[in-house]
């Protein structure tokens, strides 16, 4: 089924993606989403009754990792380069302790 978005949904999706769309660009973004939704609605046209979801088949069963711990030696160097570090913590703008 072909779907579309309006300005409001466009902005909601941009918010969910944590990307700002300037007011003058909203229409363009909306058109762009609608182009994709319109073109890709094709995937609904093929009768896939009884078809399972895609997944990769593999020749050999993937192995699982043994439960062994290992320290990461580059930890401190990594933290030094982090954009917002505070002592040993990563720092973000204040959020309410709730949620």
């Amino acid at each position: 089924m072909k779907m579309s978005v309006d300005r409001e949904i466009t902005l909601r999706m941009a918010r969910a993606a944590q990307i700002r769309v300037a007011p003058e660009d909203v229409d363009h973004m909306m058109d762009s989403i609608n182009d994709i939704l319109s073109f890709c609605a094709l995937v609904g046209d093929l009768d896939c009754t009884g078809t399972p979801d895609f997944t990769w088949r593999m020749k050999k069963r993937p192995s699982r990792r043994p439960d062994i711990t290992r320290d990461w030696e580059d930890r401190e160097r990594f933290k030094e380069k982090a954009p917002a570090i505070d002592g040993n913590f990563f720092r973000v703008p204040r959020i309410s302790s709730e949620v």
């Binding site: 944590q18 073109f39 399972p52 973000v92």
Partner: protein, 497 residues
């Protein structure tokens, strides 16, 4: 013949035979790079010092009589979405502009372990999203066969570098054609292996279920050598199959195609495919026939009709999720904000390019409740059907031929505005990715104007070695591509020196 014109095997043999040193090779290739880079803009970072140091190390090991690897002293370039320890890895994005990984991608480790010398990190469309290598923090890469044209993408930097003779071999990543199409546009060989054949560990993801590490070279033999180095089980990537690979170079002993059945795509007429490329497809089929193969026309109705839509739904959705980790907290660019939401959106809006932002929002839309049920959900089933279509076909065929791109490399800046037409550029490459099949772009020479022609050879999943064998037979008949000697503008200003 100049050293930079040699293939990887010729370079490796020459070094082993002490015809020239590894340092000679690396310095020659670096010189070739610096003489053309101002025009091509194929590299984001050139690791000159570490490359020379590595080449010297190879030389001293050789002098000591130590065991050296199959690619010892062979310079290579990796697309800048391969993590390289101590070498900046930008993904051509502002958000990773100053990011230096603390680890090597498995593919990089394997190449380095085989003695290859990492010379540079090549240009790409930001986060591999694009097919022209124009959408980059360092600006567009030019096609060395014609500087006015795009090199294809997103691995356009790697393809241009190999075509121009910076290095005999390069690494790219192919999600929906990102190695095969630039290989076609630049007139070289490029192979997307089967999904699960090569580890993706350390390759910054665009779409997990599609991305494959893919070598580019000027000979099928070099592709096979690269595959022998790259394709192996990796405990760091569980989607990389743990099975025992055949010896890829053994397949090169194939002398003819007797007893092989090869399908030739006949689903599109000459009017939908560029006439020269249609001609290349026909002559590739002729080569196969002359080598003893049975040729039959084939159609791929599901793949051709639904492939691009399925691909876009899959890749965009995955991209939106893959790029969510760039939140300005642990690494990468960061732009402050009063609130958490401000910080997130400031960081991501400022530091992702326009096309990436657009694709992230599109992908987010496709995964949103309601939209998912009408897009992502069905796409997962269509993809299963497409795999079935390929499976059925391979019951009758050993391989098939189709175009890599329906069109010739286009002019720089010629952005396709009509989305439906734009998507058609991917029509022959994305179904192969969706099916996880190996696909090789094979050069079919040049047009009268010097523009590259090519064809795509596709095999059954995990049949990579045999496919390389068939490709080598076609290459023998069609001729191996030479390097491009760009027609440098006399008075043009170099972008950089």
């Amino acid at each position: 013949m100049e050293i930079y014109e040699l293939t990887a095997r010729e370079v490796a043999d020459g070094i082993k035979a002490k015809k020239f040193s590894a340092e000679d090779v690396t310095r020659t290739c670096l010189a070739r790079l610096s003489s053309l880079e101002g025009y091509l803009n194929a590299c984001i970072t050139v690791a000159e010092d570490s490359a020379v140091a590595k080449a010297r190390e190879i030389d001293s090991r050789l002098a000591r009589g130590d065991e050296i690897g199959p690619l010892a002293g062979v310079p290579y370039i990796a697309k800048d979405n391969f993590c390289s320890k101590g070498v900046r890895t930008t993904c051509s994005s502002k958000i990773l502009e100053n990011w230096t990984p603390t680890y090597d991608a498995s593919a990089i480790s394997y190449m380095n372990g085989a003695g290859a010398v990492l010379m540079a990190k090549s240009n790409l469309d930001e986060f591999a999203m694009g097919s022209s290598t124009e959408n980059s923090i360092i600006g567009p890469t030019k096609n060395p066969r014609d500087l006015r044209r795009v090199p294809g993408g997103s691995s356009g930097g790697s393809a241009a570098a190999v075509a121009a003779g910076y290095c005999p071999i390069a690494l790219g990543s192919d999600t929906g054609g990102s190695v095969r199409q630039p290989a076609a546009f630049c007139g070289i060989q490029g192979m997307k292996p089967s999904y699960g054949e090569v580890s993706r560990y350390g390759v910054v993801a665009y779409a997990s279920s599609l991305d494959q590490v893919s070598p580019l070279a000027r000979s099928v033999e070099d592709l096979a050598i690269a595959m022998e180095v790259l394709a192996r089980p990796d405990p760091n990537d569980t989607t990389c199959d743990a099975y025992d690979r055949p010896k890829f170079s053994d397949s090169l002993s194939l002398r003819d195609l007797k007893g092989k059945r090869i399908g030739v795509f006949a689903g599109f007429g000459a009017e939908e495919i560029d006439a020269d490329l249609y001609g290349a497809l026909t002559s590739a089929a002729e080569h196969c026939r002359s080598a003893g193969a049975e040729i039959e026309p084939i159609d791929l109705p599901i793949a051709v009709k639904y492939g691009v839509a399925t691909y876009y739904v899959t890749a965009l959705a995955d991209a939106s999720s893959q790029l969510a980790c760039y939140d300005g907290i642990r690494y990468g660019a960061h732009t402050d904000g009063q609130t958490l939401a401000d910080m997130y959106s400031n960081t991501r809006t400022v530091s992702f390019g326009e096309e990436v932002r657009r694709r992230i929002i599109l992908g987010t839309a496709l995964l949103t409740e309601g939209y998912y049920q009408n897009y992502y959900g069905p796409a997962l089933k269509v993809r299963t059907k497409m795999v079935k279509e390929f499976d059925d076909l391979f019951e009758r065929f050993d391989a098939y031929l189709l175009p890599t791109s329906p069109s010739m490399p286009y002019m720089l800046g010629m952005k396709e505005e009509d989305p439906t037409r734009m998507y058609l550029g991917d029509v022959f490459t994305v179904p192969i990715s969706l099916g996880g099949l190996p696909g090789i772009n094979i050069s079919m020479g040049l047009t009268g104007e010097g523009l590259p022609l090519s064809v795509q050879l596709v095999g059954q999943r995990y049949d990579d070695a045999r496919l390389l064998g068939i490709a080598s037979v076609i290459e023998r008949l069609a001729g191996r591509p030479g390097i491009a000697n760009p027609n440098l503008p006399q008075n043009a200003e170099k972008r950089r020196g």
